[in-house]
Structure formats: C-alpha cells, structure tokens
Symmetry: C2
Subunit: 230 residues, 2 copies
DNA sequence: TCGATCAAAATTGTATCCAATCATGACGAC
DNA sequence: GTCGTCATGATTGGATACAATTTTGATCGA
C-alpha cells in the first residue's frame, strides 16, 4: 500500500523507517538484537547515526534500550498489551463518535473500499502479516476522518505497538481483528448511530484483546515447548 | 509540588528535566535558542549527551530541531494550538467519562483538596506561572483516576505543550483555565453524571482555547509592540 | 548611503577514539 | 561433575576531532 522510501530521506530516518516497516510486517520479531555496529555496516554509516535512529525508535516504544546492554525490538509485557488495547479502545471510540457528525457519504464509501480491498487479499497463511497490516490501515483510515493530526499520530504509535503485541501473543489458530467486526463497525457508522458506533469500536478492540494469549505462560513453558511431560 | 530532581539521575535526563521544568514554569519562553556547546558547559558534559537530551525533548515537541540550525524551544503555531486543545478535549472528556464508573468518594475528596490548595495560592501577578502549572496538575490528577498509564503519559505531553501555547498566546488580561470551571467540573463529577461531566470537560477546554489570542497578529505587530502608529 | 558579494567565525552533523560495562568461556575448588 | 571465580573479548557510553553548513560582518561597488 504505502510506497517505498523517499530517496532524499536522511540516513537515520531511513534506518528508522526500515526497522519500523520490518516490525510492522512481522519480519523482525520482538527481542531481536539491534547491534549498533552491525547496523552501521549495513547502511555504511557510523554508530553515531545508528544510535540516533535507535533513540527515535525507542521513544515510539518499538525498541527497548537498556543501559550498556544495547537495543532490542521491544517485547511488551502482557500488562502493557492490555494497556495499549485499553488506550486504543478509549481513544478510537471517542474519535469515532466525534467523527460521526461530519461524515460524508463519500467517506463511508472510501471505508467500504478499504474493507473490500482488504477482503480481496488471498489469505495465504504465510502472510498473516499482510492481513494484520491492513487491519491496522482500516483503523488508521477511520482515525484520519476525525481530522486531528495529533491524535492520529498518537494512534499510529499505538497501532505500531499492536504489531509487536500480536507477534508476541497471537494464539496459533485465531485471526485477530476479524473482518466481520470491521463490517459491523461500518454498519453502525452508516446507520449514523454515534453511540452504537462508539460502543461497537470499544467492544471490537476488547475482543481483539481477549483473543490474545496473554495468560501467564504455563509454569514450565520450557517443558511444553520441548513437548515433554515434566 | 513535585520535589527537586533525584541525585542519581543520568545527566541527560537531568538536562531534559531541567529544561522541561523551565518551560513549564514559563521561565524559558518559546523560541529560546538552546546551544549545544553552551548547555554542555553548564552541565560540564560533552555535546554528545546534550544532543541526546535535546532529541528527547524534540520528540515530546517541547523543542524544535532544524537541520544545521540548532534547537529552540518550540513555538507552536496557532493551528497547532487548536489541535492540541482539540486533542485534549477529545481525550480528557473520554477518559473522564470512563473514570466516572469507578470513582470513589475518596477520589473526589482528593480532587477537591487539589482544587482548594490551588485556590489558596496568592494570585500575585508575577507567578501566573504557578497558577498555570497547578491548573495542569488538576487535569493530570483527573487523568490519573482513569488508570491507563499510556493515556496518562500522552496527556502529560499535551499539557506540556499547552504551557508553550499559553506562553505564546495568552492575552494580557485574562486568566486561563479558570478555577470556576474546575469547580463546575467537580460538581458534575460529584453528581455522578457521566455525560454531563464529559460535556463540561469538553466545553472547559474549548473555553480555554477561545480565551487565547490566536488570531493572526495584526499585520504589523512590530508597530504595535513599539506603541507607534504606522 | 544602500546593496551585494564574499570571507571568516560560529554552530551543527558525523566519524573516530578511548573508557566503562557486560557477556562469554576457561580454570580451579569443592 | 558441578558450581563459582576470574580473565578475556565484545559492545555500548561518552569525548574529541574533523567536515559541512549556516550566520555574521566586512569590503567593494553603484
């Protein structure tokens, strides 16, 4: 959907954007070490500028920097995951309700289009990543209708963190953020029922949260992972 | 209210905190140049660490960094000012409404105490700064009741930016964020009327926005400032 | 006297270097 | 044989040195 990077982007921005994209696309899993020297080699640049990029990323909570221990792709805790979804629920519900008064039919059509295009994409198992990204895009499209760039940018941040959360806590089977739910959402919007739209959004995000496997991993996850009885 | 810095704070954090405080207290006006070398001298540290602090501050939009032109205390435009207040209205109204269900009488008492203490402070003209900071504290106290650290932190950011906006656009006479409004807010909260509380919060912030002198400055503000007819 | 061009100074951006801290592996004691 | 200690290596944190850009002011010309 979004095109490749601008050629004129400063190198540090470029690194930042590349890592961000890699995280969004689930190519770079939580916990991945980000060595300053290695990144410097890859982009043919000194550690100074790499560090700059890493700091930017850490301020968006996509990477964690621990003193003297380097940077890793962030691994939000279960508690943080809940907080992110709760924050999204509060924010997106409020934004949506406020948007409702000034929604044009054209806006709604555009949303349907996004959803349709979304549905088109073949659900090959390998890129569930694709599906996740496009689900995020739908939420971003909704937020854009509200018209406040500050809230929009903040939500982008939260959606970014959601990528990490999904990577960490998505159960094997289920798909998150079902298309069906987005459809329901659109129905409520089209009906012009602000209160219901708000409520639907809130529930949708809480459903997404509930679909995650946030429970404390079984006491010895190790044995489980190895497929051995203890 | 909040005490002086922790002694064990890393230097870059310390610089960040000091500048933040100076901005909040209206001692460091928008547009102030922040020379890397000068700051380095002041804290007896190299530019490397100063830059780190400045970048942090710029990610919170308290300072603006322009390529090869150094850092200044940010000067939000009138448009940005509107966006900040609109974002606060949306967010704080939503948070407040959600908080209402789980508010205890103790919480309300604590808020009244904050407000009373707030009222106590003598309104000497010199520190209108004090009054601004405490008004911010009241809003932060409300947000804390919601219980979501992510939204809380984000709101802190917005309130910080509000300091800059007030510094830039407060008209000579008026006080912003009147105590009266906070009193009304508390009444609505105490009455347990979530919808009214939400609406009151929204209106309060919009009133604050309207009280600002955001209009494009008269074509030659310079002449005005010098008290000369053109 | 005003304006433009150009040179010098100051300031930021980046690279490199050294110091400090943490991780890894070997050795030795129990 | 296992655990603890210590030394070595790798990696980050910070300071300095250098390059690039901008700003300032000075000189020259109209």
């Amino acid at each position: 959907m979004s095109e490749d990077q601008d050629k004129t982007l400063p190198v540090d921005r470029r690194i930042e954007a590349d890592i961000t994209r890699a995280i969004y696309d689930q190519r770079m899993p939580p916990g991945t070490r980000l060595s300053e020297e290695r990144l410097g080699e890859l982009y043919d640049v000194s550690r100074t500028v790499v560090r700059k990029a890493l700091f930017q990323l850490s301020s968006r909570k996509l990477v964690e920097i621990r003193a003297n221990r380097g940077a890793r792709v962030a691994q939000p805790s279960a508690a943080q995951a809940r907080e992110v979804f709760a924050a999204r629920a509060t924010l997106e519900a409020a934004m949506l309700e406020e948007s409702m008064t000034r929604l044009t039919p054209a806006d709604i059509d555009a949303l349907r289009a996004t959803l349709a295009h979304d549905h088109d994409t073949p659900t090959n198992e390998t890129d569930a990543a694709e599906s996740i990204a496009e689900s995020g895009d739908f939420h971003k499209a909704l937020a854009r209708l509200h018209g406040n760039p500050i809230l929009q940018e903040f939500l982008d941040e939260l959606i970014g963190q959601t990528s990490l959360i999904i990577a960490l806590y998505r159960p094997r089977e289920a798909e998150l953020c079902s298309h069906a739910a987005h459809g329901e959402l659109l129905d409520a919007i089209e009906a012009g029922d602000a209160a219901r739209a708000r409520e639907t959004m809130h529930e949708h995000l809480m459903d997404c949260l509930d679909a995650l496997a946030l429970e404390p991993p079984p006491a010895d996850a190790l044995a489980d992972m190895l497929g051995r009885a203890r």
